[in-house]
C-alpha cells in the first residue's frame, strides 16, 4: 500500500527559482527511503511539502491516502500527528527540560497526563536518555539533543518519520546510533524518509535512494538494483 504518492509535483518560490520540478514518486508503507542530492537540490522542500509547511505550485500529493494539496488549514494539525519530523538543528525548546520537550508533542495532541508520562519515559528509554529527564537541552551533547528530538518525533507513534539532514552536525559514531534508532522505528512499521547528502550513509545501510538534482528526480535506486550495480 502506498503511504506517500506524488504526481507531477512542482514548487516555485519565485518566477526564476524552482525548488522541485515535475516530481512523481510513490513510497510504500513501511519503506525506508533516502532522499539525496547536493545542497539546493530540493530535498528540504520535498519533505516540507509532505507535512504541509509548503504547498506545491502544481501537482498532487497524497499522504496515507489523503490528498494534502488542498487540505484545509484546520485539518493540517491532524495530518501532522501522523508525521514525526527531525531536523539538523534539533529544534528543541532550550528553556524546557528533556522530559517537557518530549511531552510537548503529546500534550499538543491533548493526551492525558498519566499517558503522557508513561509514553515519554518509554520514548526516552528507547533513545537511551531516560536518566536525563530533568536536564535542559543545552546541558547535553549534540548527539543527545538529536536523540531527544527523535524521541519527540517517535513518542506519538507516527506513520511517517521525516528526517532532514539529522546527522549533519554529528560525528560518525553518533550518526550510527541515530541511524539505528531510525532503523528500529522502521522495523516497527514507520515509513522513514531521510534527506541527506552523506552518501556514506546509504552505503552502510543500503535502502531505496531517491536522488534529486535541481529539483528533478534523477535517480530512484532500490537496494537490489544497488547490489546488482555493485556486482
Amino acid at each position: 500500500m502506498d503511504m506517500i504518492q506524488l504526481y507531477n509535483v512542482s514548487k516555485r518560490y519565485s518566477r526564476d527559482s524552482i525548488a522541485v520540478k515535475d516530481l512523481s514518486v510513490k513510497i510504500d508503507k513501511g519503506e525506508f527511503v533516502y532522499v539525496t542530492g547536493a545542497s539546493g537540490a530540493g530535498k528540504t522542500t520535498f519533505l516540507r511539502m509532505l507535512y504541509v509547511a509548503e504547498r506545491p505550485t502544481r501537482g498532487q500529493i497524497l499522504v496515507d491516502g489523503q490528498n494534502v494539496t488542498r487540505i484545509r488549514s484546520h485539518q493540517i494539525p491532524y495530518l501532522r500527528r501522523k508525521i514525526g519530523v527531525v531536523f539538523q538543528d534539533f529544534k528543541l525548546l532550550q528553556s524546557r527540560t528533556v522530559y517537557e520537550n518530549v511531552a510537548f508533542a503529546l500534550e499538543a495532541q491533548g493526551k492525558k497526563r498519566f499517558e503522557v508520562s508513561k509514553k515519554v519515559y518509554q520514548a526516552l528509554k528507547e533513545v537511551g536518555l531516560e536518566h536525563r529527564l530533568q536536564r535542559k537541552p543545552l546541558e547535553l551533547s549534540g548527539g543527545e539533543q538529536q536523540r531527544i528530538a527523535i524521541a519527540r518525533a517517535l513518542v506519538v507513534d507516527p506513520l511517517i518519520l521525516l528526517a532532514d539532514e539529522p546527522s549533519g552536525n554529528l560525528d560518525q559514531e553518533v550518526t550510527m546510533d541515530i541511524m539505528n534508532l531510525f532503523k528500529r522505528a522502521n522495523a516497527r512499521g514507520t515509513t522513514v524518509l531521510l534527506a541527506t547528502h552523506d552518501y556514506s550513509l546509504h552505503q552502510r545501510f543500503p535502502r531505496r535512494v531517491l536522488t534529486l538534482d535541481q529539483g528533478k528526480l534523477v535517480g530512484d535506486q532500490r537496494p537490489l538494483e544497488m547490489e546488482t550495480a555493485e556486482q
Binding site: A53, S73, Y78, R81, A108, R113
Partner: protein, 298 residues
C-alpha cells in the same frame, strides 16, 4: 475539559514565569496606557463637572416696567412658578434692589443719599432647573415668561452663555479627539509589546504547529496569558490612580487646581473601575490574538 483548562492555565503561568522580563514589560505597558487614558478621562469629567457648577449660578432676571400691586404679587409669583423649567422665583422690590445696591457699594454708600428709593426697577429673579440651564432651555422659558408678565428687560448672561456653550463643545471635541488618539496609541503600543514577547517565543510556536497542535491549543494559553497580564495591568493602573488621587486630596492639592473649596474632585465610579480592569483584559486578549495571527502559520 477541566483537565484541558488546567493545562492551559498552568502553561500560561509557566510561560510568564519563564519570561519574567517580557511579562513585566507587557503588564507595565498596559498599566501605564490604561492609567493615562483613565487620567485623561478624569480630567475631562472633572472639568465638565466644574463647568456644570458654573451654570448653577445661571438665572433669569426679568425687570418690570412698573412694580406689581401688592395683591397681584402672590398670583404673579405662582404663575411664574407654573412655567416648566422654573425652579424658584424671588421678587425683588425697588426698595430691596436699592438696599442691595447700597450694600454692594459699602463705604461709598453715601453716594446714594438723596436718590429716590424707587429709582431701580422691580424684578423677578427666576432660578432654573438644572436641565434648563443652557441656551435653548432659557429661550423656551423666556418665551413663556413674556406671556405671563409685562417685561421691560431680561438678563440671563446671554454672551456668557454663548461663550460657555462654545467652551463645553470645544472641551468635548478635544476630549473625544485626544481620547480616541490615546486609545489608538494604546492599542498600537500594547499589540506591539505583545508581538515582541511572541517574537521571542516564535520557536515554541513553530514547534507546537509542527507536532500537530491545533490553533485552539496554541492560542488559548497565549490569550489566557494576555488576559492575566491585562488584568494585572488594569489593577496596577487602578492602584496608581487611587494612590495619586488620595495624595491630591489629602495634601489639599485640589486648591491648587483653582477649584472652589467645596468642590469634590470626581474619581472613577465602581462601574468605571470595573470597566478599566475589563479593558485591560480585553486589550491583553486582543493584543495576543492580533500578534498570534502573524506568528502562527499552520
Amino acid at each position: 475539559m477541566l483537565e484541558a483548562m488546567r493545562y492551559f492555565f498552568l502553561r500560561a503561568l509557566r510561560n510568564m514565569r519563564q519570561w519574567p522580563f517580557l511579562c513585566s514589560a507587557a503588564i507595565l505597558t498596559m498599566a501605564v496606557s490604561l492609567a493615562t487614558i483613565a487620567t485623561f478621562f478624569l480630567i475631562v469629567v472633572n472639568i465638565e463637572q466644574l463647568a456644570a457648577r458654573w451654570t448653577g449660578e445661571i438665572q433669569v432676571i426679568a425687570y418690570l416696567n412698573t412694580p406689581p400691586a401688592q395683591q397681584d404679587l402672590v398670583r404673579l409669583t405662582q404663575d411664574l412658578e407654573q412655567i416648566e423649567g422654573v425652579e424658584n422665583v424671588a421678587y425683588v422690590s425697588p426698595a430691596a434692589a436699592m438696599d442691595r445696591f447700597r450694600e454692594r457699594l459699602g463705604e461709598d454708600a453715601s453716594l446714594l443719599q438723596g436718590i429716590r428709593p424707587d429709582l431701580l426697577p422691580a424684578s423677578f429673579e427666576i432660578g432654573l432647573r438644572p436641565e434648563f440651564r443652557q441656551q435653548e432651555g432659557i429661550e423656551i422659558i423666556v418665551a413663556q415668561l413674556e406671556e405671563v408678565i409685562p417685561v421691560d428687560d431680561l438678563r440671563y448672561g446671554q454672551t456668557w452663555l454663548e461663550r460657555f456653550n462654545t467652551f463645553i463643545n470645544m472641551l468635548r471635541f478635544v476630549g473625544a479627539f485626544l481620547g480616541g488618539f490615546l486609545l489608538f496609541a494604546t492599542l498600537f503600543i500594547v499589540a506591539n509589546t505583545i508581538r515582541l514577547t511572541l517574537y521571542a517565543r516564535r520557536d515554541e510556536l513553530e514547534i507546537m504547529a509542527l507536532v500537530g497542535a491545533t490553533m485552539r491549543f496554541i492560542k488559548i494559553p497565549f490569550m489566557l496569558e494576555g488576559a492575566i497580564q491585562g488584568f494585572v495591568g488594569g489593577m496596577l493602573s487602578l492602584l496608581f490612580l487611587g494612590v495619586s488621587f488620595t495624595l491630591i486630596i489629602s495634601r489639599g492639592l485640589n486648591a491648587f487646581w483653582l477649584t472652589p473649596v467645596d468642590f469634590d474632585l470626581l474619581f472613577l465610579t465602581a462601574t468605571q473601575q470595573l470597566l478599566l480592569v475589563l479593558a485591560g483584559v480585553v486589550l491583553g486578549v486582543l493584543g495576543s490574538l492580533s500578534s498570534l495571527r502573524r506568528f502562527v502559520r499552520i
